[in-house]
């Protein structure tokens, strides 16, 4: 019971893209992916940095399904969604078929598939640019380890109900819990911070210094000594 996933272990995560079979121009696909990545990178409470590989992924549909792809997480388009099981191509715009975790709870194999099935109602080229961006952003959220949100305005809501990408507070809270940023390197409190710093970062040291000065001054200058008559 409960989610003990820790997301990906690395702080800098590279997404690989194979644009083969995608039914929108390659440059537009990259633009939508980059905008979606930028939205997730702009969240302040997380230390995760997402980048897109500038070289085209050589791993494709068959490698991904065979679980032999090494360029993960992978973004690709599929012209036959039934290859991934019972996926309704008329309703599913994109999905994450695999989210494999190791014994420690870190994800090591995942990616997202966009619907490029010819004739399908939910096929990629039927969508407005903002909707493609929203779908990519939503599925990237799943690849990072997020589930769905109950807020209809959230990016992680299960339905496409607007035509622009917006990372709401609910989405931010979700990703912050998976990849929390802590300039003190986990030195405070008893909550588990799964990424341990091997050394205290400079900004953390400065922050500790400020905190100690604050507490010292609050204590030091609050004492009033009784003067003898």
């Amino acid at each position: 019971m409960g989610s003990n996933t820790f997301g990906w272990k690395q702080k800098r995560l590279t997404f690989y893209v194979n644009p083969t079979h995608c039914t929108i121009p390659e440059s537009e696909l990259y633009q939508r992916i980059d905008n979606a990545i930028q939205a997730w990178n702009g969240i302040p409470d997380t230390d995760l940095e997402i980048v897109r590989s500038t070289t085209v992924a050589t791993d494709g549909d068959s490698e991904f399904r065979a679980k032999t792809a090494t360029q993960v997480p992978l973004i690709l388009c599929s012209q036959q969604l039934s290859d991934y099981g019972s996926v309704d191509a008329n309703a599913i715009l994109g999905f994450v078929p695999y989210f494999d975790e190791n014994a420690e709870g870190y994800v090591y194999y995942s990616g997202l598939v966009l619907n490029a099935q010819p004739g399908a109602l939910a096929e990629l080229s039927q969508l407005a640019p903002g909707e493609v961006e929203l779908i990519v952003g939503h599925e990237i959220g799943h690849v990072l380890g997020l589930g769905h949100s109950g807020d209809p305005d959230s990016l992680m809501y299960f339905k496409l109900n607007k035509n622009f990408l917006l990372v709401t507070q609910d989405d931010q809270d979700g990703i912050s819990q998976l990849y929390p940023r802590n300039v003190l390197g986990g030195a405070l409190g008893c909550a588990s911070v799964h990424r341990t710093e091997t050394r205290l970062p400079v900004s953390g040291l400065l922050a500790v210094l400020v905190l100690l000065i604050v507490l010292f001054l609050m204590g030091r200058f609050s004492f009033k000594t009784e003067q003898p008559l």
Binding site: M1, G2, S3, N4, N41, P44, D45, T46, D88, I92, F95, G147, H148, S149, G150, D151, S154, Y157, F158, K159, F164, L166, V167, T168, Q169, D170, D173, S176, Q177, L178, P180, R181, N182, V183, L184, G185, G186, A187, L188, G189, A191, S192, V193, L200, S203, A207, V208, V210, L211, L212, I213, V214, L215, F216, L217, M218, G219, F221, S222, F223
Partner: protein, 194 residues
Amino acid sequence: MKKFSLWILIFISSLSASSVFAAGWKLQVGASVSNLEQRLSAPPGFASKVSEIQGLLGVSKSLKISNRFSLRPESFVLLPWRKGVDGTTLTFTSHAGLSIDIQISKPLSLGLGNGLLWEMFCSRGEAVNLGNGTGTSTFYTPSRWTQVVLPTATISLEWKFSKRVGLQFGFLISDYLNSNKRRVRGLGKVVIDL
């Protein structure tokens, strides 16, 4: 290093806790608006989805260095704490900082400072049934508590309109060195000499 830092913090906290009831403290009561630039640029109807307004309760102390300059250590918590959409995750936010106050004129002073913003996310792995594709699935909140600590810079303007009460408005900028992640929080407080 972790244990050493923790013991130092416990020691200093004990020292300051023993002086909490001493005179000279100021009470801060007000409100905070998070992600100001996102709130202003959000599409119509979505401002409250990207930015939160919460109450603020804090303490501070003014330590005079010279006629014009003072040091102001302060700390506040945001109330009520933030609840997740499903009501299963609670987020507690607090801040501790040190500012230098510069007396511009008799009632007006400018404050510039540095500090730490601390957020604690608390959840217990509750199950939530949500839509998924053409059906529903069971999702789970994390089974652990998580904390976020960010460096901050603060700037404020305080107008003292009576001997004991002042109005303070300012901004708290978190992660100010990172242009991608920098966020601005607006603060408005009534400051009361205790």
